[in-house]
Assembly symmetry: C2
């Protein structure tokens, strides 16, 4: 087989950064400054450079386009998209990464992006450049499953949070309501999911809630399953 039979192509590392904000599941999107899809919203991301690891490229692009530090995030790679005609610039294979973070200050726009902002997933759906709508859907479904099997929900929360905060994450991401009593029992009964800090948070009104921080466990055994 001749060498030219092999597709010379480029790899793009794209990022789906999710958070819970204003009671909604939101995703970090940029507005594109360059061709193609100028002015359209897209997931942050960009081309992998010569000699650069794909995951490293994801962290770099995140920093360049949004000002966020990706080294602290747990990036999880999921299904690539490599259809030959998915990018007008030529053959570009997208390697998407999913990360979850607390509701932090709005990031700043960088070189390739004119704006970078949190947007509710519902609002950007069906309006992103490339095939990013599809990638976003796959990321959201993956995040939902992650909540069932891992302790990743704590990544949506700040360093200290209440059981109610954590339940809110599940409710927003899954789009269903959970029983506070049963949820609390499952969370506190799972070794290493959360550990009490001893502190309490005063609400505007009502009984103070105990504060917790993320525990050492990463997988949930048994899982916390959503309704069918």
């Amino acid at each position: 087989m001749a060498d030219r039979d092999h597709a010379q192509l480029r790899i793009a590392a794209d990022l789906v950064i999710l958070t819970v904000r204003d009671g909604k599941l939101q995703v970090l999107v940029i507005t594109r400054r360059n061709f193609p899809f100028e002015g359209k919203r897209a997931l942050p991301g960009g081309f992998v450079r010569v000699g650069e690891d794909i995951g490293a490229a994801a962290v770099r692009e995140l920093s360049e386009e949004t000002g966020l530090d990706g080294t602290a995030l747990r990036l999880e790679q999921f299904a690539v998209h490599g259809e030959p005609d998915r990018d007008p610039r030529g053959r570009v294979v997208s390697v998407p990464y999913l990360a979850i973070m607390p509701d932090l200050p709005i990031p700043t726009a960088g070189s390739d992006a004119s704006t970078a902002a949190w947007m509710p997933v519902e609002e950007v759906r069906a309006g992103l450049a490339f095939d990013h709508d599809l990638i976003l859907d796959e990321a959201v479904e993956r995040a939902r499953r992650r909540l069932e099997l891992t302790t990743i929900a704590t990544a949506f929360c700040p360093a200290e949070f209440t059981i109610g905060d954590l339940r809110n994450v599940y409710e927003v991401v899954w789009g269903e309501t959970l029983d506070p009593r049963n949820f609390s029992r499952k969370v506190t009964g799972t070794e290493g999911f959360v550990e009490p800090t001893g502190g309490r948070r005063m609400p505007v009104t009502g009984r103070p809630a105990a504060l917790y921080r993320a525990g050492g466990a990463t997988t949930l055994n048994p899982p916390i399953l959503r309704q069918r």
Copy 2:
């Protein structure tokens, strides 16, 4: 950013085809005929061509190297490996696919491979070319998890099989023994997992076993979990 800053690279679609054979978990491996790693065992796979979809390339390479028809297989893509120095020929990103099939006749060797054969996973471990050992490990772990949450175990079996056959799949892939009574109760109690054909299989000696075929369901609810 100059265009040359973007890595020009190639995509390889690699396949991890698993089966249960002789009571062991086995994987389809080829012996490489060309540089690099000539004479060494590797997973089947090869470069994606110009204008070719990655999944289509996986099917084509499988056919070329092993004579197997991949169109009938349910290929599931998992984590890519794109470290810059993982291939001596240059920058090659591997997109691995996992598939599971029944114990079919030994495939035939093709162009890039001098041999293609089933080998027990335990025997090939730590002896494959490139980083295929790592990819194989990830595939096996994924297959194990798949058995917990999906009905994929039926893909290890021929069109008609017994509950004992199916249990054997779980035992071999998980490497642990299961209680026949509890297993049977779970399998037959899960809607759409298996449906009886009415036929029976005569063993050399002992009571005939009822035959089943795969049902329509793809996900297991509730899951069948292995021991911790």
